[in-house]
Symmetry: C2
Subunit: 402 residues, 2 copies
């Protein structure tokens, strides 16, 4: 029996285009994980969640263990609506769908909006998982570069004009992480946000706003695209993974009711009452603003520590963007082969994510890598950067000798 | 902005073919829910799950709250493997994918195997959610009737021969709930199981075995199709929803490694560490065989109660299959319009699910309805049947008068 003969045609195509791949090499046991996008273990509220579950079961007994019926499923939606509202997004309950994290949200949107005839715009670099998801639906993906002020909307405009002139198909959706972008850590400025919305209206495309780090800006929180969208073009995706805990798998899509109805229809894993009610039970017990302020303070300090260490231990030719928030620093070394560097770095017990994972064309990313200041402790980060600095110095010296 | 213009072509087609629909009418507050497919609230181990979560967090702290890293994620897989093994299915860890309930498993299989060119075979009647899922991918669905011994494989064989003769496209996958079927409660006998596998081999199709009630047979547990499949044609879907708690959202697919790799690749909600580790933490504390025996005893008693009440309170012309396990009794009344009956029944405070939901062509189901003996207590069930019996008697008398 030939198994792959049973795959449907678009799945065969997707598997050819984007095969289930090797992801990062295995990390050594004692590795300092500057690759990790996990929240700081000390900031994950495990005790509070334990208590929230106990309270939930004491008060609701079996209710959150059925398919439906826990009042806290609605409480979670209200808590999310409240957060969105505070950031200028007034979202009706029928305009909100709770998902299993932002990843499921992205996949659900792709499933409903994107097929092999669709053109999708992504940022370069961008979140690797999103790239993988879009490539499961279409091969027509356009890259637009990001700089220290986010997506370069002037380049986007040129590309759109050019495609119009040449009668090439225009994009139906653009994927952006406007605030504290993964992996660059940069934030789209307000002028570009407005420009992007104008282009979306003019060229009739949707904007998929991935706001995973939207509440983790070190400075003032920028206005989300959804808050200034007057036409219903923005599908706003959020998540509690970075501000509460990824293992709870709570994300959402906020968008026009007709979209949300369709997304809900094609979301076939149903609600997750135990997880959703547990998180609701946790959220009502805490002051979320206070928690956010604490998180931002800790992550900003950790970011400073990492940046100081980079300045101290990395050779002069290495540059990076100053993160505006989030979890990551994006590093550039002219002439680098970052996968080769990773191999040497792992041998010294430090990991990072090579740039190639964040680009549609992996070769665009070889001179870059992503470091994270979220997961490891201060001392480990400094130690990691020191080791990595040494590996880089040796690497660059060897390159010069070649 | 015209929202539905952004839906991809196959989604537009799916929404036209199978629009997000009205499901059951809203139930009155004080309704006796003979419609419910929820487990008996008294059998949902809420206290034990609360304790399992406390133990999990005490022992693992933040680990189950990250994307990965809880050792109990693997423990859950081992527990599932152990259950499968005890029923004759030796499944390697690479042949097993944990999903968010059986529904996600069905959708994932459909996503990878089925497109608009695919022909799918389903049982008539069958699980309504599965029908909905398949209709999201194809319009080419064939019905094969079920009787007291399960899927009528002789009719399937005739249909396959006929389609071959007429050069009509042959099915790539057949969906069956062989044990304690939803909604009929009947079980496919061994002769038909073997016949089905023979046909699958001869006509080269896959079998999607939905085993949600497979461990809830009142008699000896029948051998799963997967246990007698020598060619890797069976994708075996299971769930803890009916034997532990649906709100935990734990299901799985067991199948050949190449299939499982593809399903995992297109499953974009990632693992659910908190839910999966919590369930693992619960499972290692209990004797699962003992729990199953307890469940079967309680549900068998409740089934007897319901059947006795049907004999006592339903008119002579009403018939049903004797359930072989599971949660449901399938009732037949010649000449019935079961949606009309539901309306009258709700007015008297009793619900059931009209037969039309379980058929590809709703009109095939009007003479049937599904009653459940899982959710309500013994007294409520008897009271519900008594009320329903009266409604039916009045309905039949009125029909005769017309």
């Amino acid at each position: 029996m030939k198994i792959d003969s049973f795959f449907s045609n678009n799945i065969k195509e997707a598997l050819k285009n984007n095969p289930p791949g090797e992801w990062m090499p295995e990390l050594p046991e004692e590795c300092i994980r500057l690759s990790s996008g996990y929240p700081d273990p000390a900031l994950v509220p495990s005790q509070q969640i334990k208590e929230a579950v106990a309270k939930l079961i004491d008060e609701e007994q079996d209710l959150p263990l059925h398919y439906l019926g826990s009042p806290r499923i609605e409480v979670l939606k209200q808590q999310i609506q409240k957060r969105l509202h505070q950031r200028g997004m007034k979202v009706h309950e029928r305009e909100l769908l709770v998902t299993s994290g932002a990843c499921q949200a992205l996949d659900l949107i792709a499933r409903v909006i994107i097929d092999e005839e669709s053109v999708v715009v992504v940022e370069a670099p961008t979140y690797m998982e999103a790239l993988e998801i879009f490539q499961n639906y279409t091969k027509q993906i356009i890259n637009i570069p990001v700089d220290e002020n986010g997506l370069q909307t002037n380049i986007l405009e040129e590309v759109l004009k050019e495609r119009t002139k040449k009668s090439l198909p225009l994009p139906s959706i653009l994927y952006t992480i406007p605030t504290a972008q993964n992996p660059t850590g940069t934030t789209m400025d307000m002028e570009r946000r407005k420009h992007l919305l104008k282009l979306a209206s003019e060229y009739n495309f949707l904007i998929l706003e991935d706001d995973a780090y939207g509440e983790l800006s070190f400075g003032d929180s920028p206005t989300p695209l959804k808050a200034i969208d007057t036409e219903g073009r923005v599908l706003h995706v959020g998540s509690l993974s970075k501000v509460v805990a990824p293992g709870m798998r709570i994300g959402w899509i906020a968008g026009s009711e007709e979209f949300i109805t369709a997304f809900a229809w094609f979301k076939k894993d149903l609600d997750h009452p135990f997880a959703q009610a547990s998180v609701a039970s946790y959220l009502v017990e805490i002051d979320f603003e206070e928690r956010l302020n604490m998180l931002k303070e800790v992550y900003r300090k950790k970011c400073d520590t990492l940046i100081n260490a980079l300045q101290l231990y990395f050779p002069e030719s290495v540059t990076w963007y100053m993160p505006s928030g989030g979890y990551f620093v994006w590093v550039h070394i002219p002439g680098l082969d970052s996968s080769e560097l990773l191999e040497r770095s792992l041998a010294k017990g430090v990991s990072f994510i090579p740039g190639e994972y964040f680009f549609l064309k992996p070769q665009d990313g070889t001179e870059f890598f992503r470091l994270s200041f979220c997961f490891e402790g201060q001392d480990e980060m400094v130690e990691g950067v020191q080791r990595l600095g040494q590996v880089i110095t040796e690497y660059l010296n060897a390159s010069l000798l070649e």
